[in-house]
């Protein structure tokens, strides 16, 4: 089974049913149209010699065109590599250059800076399919028409991908200062999607939200679960994805039945979304993942929207969801602790190990490790990092080390305790504090940089940069933030900067993060 086989079955059985809707722009594609346009893109990619084992990038705002791109690329046998259209062009060019994409589908508005950044990195530029804009699929159609009028693309056939063929590469924040590519196969994704089918029981008349951007692993559930079941997905674009009022309106107007997002988005809706003025009655399932959901906001949302079932899903990009926990109908008023991450998904196995890799007794803290068909193949072109990501065992299983410290409670339910390293989650995104530091060190005035994450009532975490400078002249906060925005996605820009004569050090002369953390 491959991911694009879901669409092919939808085309056969649900041809006229709506597959994709753009929430605010109004564009829509039924299964037949999505099938037809992705076939045409596949044919064009075949002209560019794209085939099994290749990677194809896309650099598009979230739209019908990006869904067509995903399926066109999969049908060609290649893996898709999405990038964040709101991130700096330098980061996106790095990603596509890093995994050697064979072709790129890009919007004209991004082309100039992206091409310039690719040229700086060296090597031949990949062929590009340029769309004048996005919306409703018509811009993909006109781009393909234009290319066909220059040289027609002969009909090719959809590649019958093998389970271990790569389906997509998702880049996440890397501790060394550069993003790293998590390689996931059709087997990885299909196993996860099948598990979702069993637990959430999707129906053909369901309407799924697609809130997460496509470079984020939450998008895998959003795209493939509804399409597998002949249902509809509602694309929520970057421009409204953090606007609680607009999101309430979308849930109500599109009669969303299954919602999935990071908890911080649900917190925003609970606080600022004026839920009482909107109709959430179609909602039957609310899923959240990516970070801890502060109980006060979860309770507030659930009190305002009591009908649906609520699930806390947990898992890094490397495994997708690996544990889950259903939130009880009533959250006791005196509960202050977040809910556990839950029990391991039925298609996976889990162990908890100590720093030597030995399994700990139930009830003791240790690192959660996961084995099974969801587990990634590795990091793109990083054999050492990949090897470090897995437990060295002789049982023949590949145990991925999540880096998350958990405790297994008596009933097989896991409770999240914290991180082993310096990664934090902000609005569901993985943020390696080291990557922010690496960017700050590029600023000419900065001598030392140490970044810490602090708890924050409204945002979950607040990122604080401690800096010491080369000379007395202090750069302005506006200049520092603007500088960061050229190298980092907006969610990684520090919220607060503080300046020190010199940063505190430990006895071994390393930056003393613990004392910086205590400074608050």
């Amino acid at each position: 089974m491959s991911l694009h086989a879901y669409l092919e079955s939808g085309v056969r059985n649900r041809g006229n049913h709506c597959a994709v809707v753009e929430a605010t722009e109004g564009g829509r594609l039924d299964y037949s149209a999505l099938g037809r346009l992705s076939d045409r893109l596949r044919d064009r990619l075949a002209v560019l010699n794209v085939g099994r084992g290749d990677r194809v990038g896309f650099y598009l705002r979230k739209s019908a065109e990006s869904v067509i791109s995903i399926f066109g690329i999969l049908k060609s046998g290649a893996a898709y590599v999405p990038v964040d259209p709101t991130a700096p062009a330098s980061r996106n060019a790095y990603i596509h250059n890093n995994c050697g994409v064979k072709a790129v589908i890009i919007e004209e508005r991004f082309l100039g800076n992206y091409r310039q950044e690719l040229e700086t990195l060296g090597g031949a530029l990949p062929p590009m399919i340029v769309l004048d804009s996005v919306g409703g699929g018509s811009h993909m159609q006109s781009a393909l028409d234009r290319l066909d009028s220059q040289s027609p693309a002969p009909a090719s056939t959809t590649v019958d991908s093998a389970p271990d063929d790569l389906a997509y590469i998702l880049y996440t924040s890397g501790s060394t200062g550069k993003p790293k590519g998590v390689m996931l196969s059709h087997r990885n994704a299909v196993s996860f999607v099948d598990w979702c089918s069993g637990v959430f029981e999707p129906k053909p008349d369901d309407i799924f939200s697609s809130h997460a951007p496509f470079h984020f692993d939450l998008s895998i559930l959003d795209i493939y679960v509804p399409l597998k079941h002949g249902a509809t997905l509602v694309l929520i674009g970057e421009s409204v994805s953090k606007e609680p009022l607009a999101l309430s309106k979308i849930i109500s107007q599109h009669h969303i039945t299954v919602w999935y997002s990071a908890p911080s988005i649900l917190s925003l809706i609970a606080q600022f979304g004026k839920i009482a003025e909107h109709d959430f009655s179609a909602l039957r399932t609310v899923l959240f993942a990516g970070e801890v959901f502060p109980i006060v906001h979860l309770r507030s949302f659930k009190n305002q929207v009591p009908k649906p079932r609520y699930f806390n899903l947990y898992g890094p990009t490397e495994t997708n969801v690996c544990t889950y926990h259903e939130i009880p109908q009533v959250i006791p008023d005196d509960r202050a602790d977040p809910f556990p991450i839950g029990k391991v998904c039925e298609n996976l196995e889990a162990v908890v190990v100590d720093t030597d890799g030995s399994v700990v007794a139930r009830g003791a803290e240790g690192e959660l490790c996961i084995a099974g068909p969801n587990v990634m193949q590795g990091y793109w072109a990083m054999p050492e990092q990949t090897a470090k990501g897995f437990l060295a065992t002789t049982d023949g299983k590949r145990w991925y080390k999540t880096g998350d410290i958990v405790v297994e409670e008596t009933d097989g339910v896991y409770r999240y305790v914290g991180r082993r390293d310096r990664m934090v989650k902000k609005r569901g995104y993985r943020v390696e504090l080291g990557e922010i530091e690496a960017s700050l060190y590029r600023h000419a005035a900065i001598r030392e940089a140490a970044v810490v994450a602090l708890p924050d009532e409204s945002a979950g975490v607040k990122i604080k940069a401690h800096l010491s400078l080369r000379d007395a002249k202090r750069p302005s906060l506006i200049e520092l933030k603007t500088f960061c925005s050229k190298h980092l996605p907006l969610y990684m820009i520090p919220d607060v900067f503080t300046f020190h004569e010199t940063l505190p050090k430990t006895s071994t002369d390393k930056i003393d993060y613990q004392s910086l953390q205590r400074l608050g």
Partner: protein
């Protein structure tokens, strides 16, 4: 009626106090990019909208809470002034 320079001063003071504590006020001009340069994140933008609604007794629509309308003090003043009928 509120005059645009009053609006400007109030907005500027709010942004400096709330989001840029310790910043030299001269660094924040009427054309400094705020949202697109990462000075205001999404939650800061919501707080700013809350402030504008309360301070100037206006209502900001969901589609207006974006960089197109709020990216600089100049644009914020225009938005507020248009709603106050200035």
């Amino acid at each position: 009626m509120q005059n645009p320079s009053d609006i400007e001063q109030k907005v500027k003071a709010y942004i400096l106090n709330e989001f840029l504590p310790g910043e030299d006020p001269a660094q924040l001009t009427n054309t400094t990019p705020l949202i697109t340069a990462g000075v205001l994140d999404s939650i800061a933008t919501l707080k700013l909208v809350g402030f504008l609604e309360q301070e100037f007794s206006i209502s900001v629509e969901a589609h207006e809470a974006d960089s197109e309308h709020l990216d600089t003090i100049e644009r914020i003043v225009q938005l507020v002034a248009s709603k106050k009928g200035n």
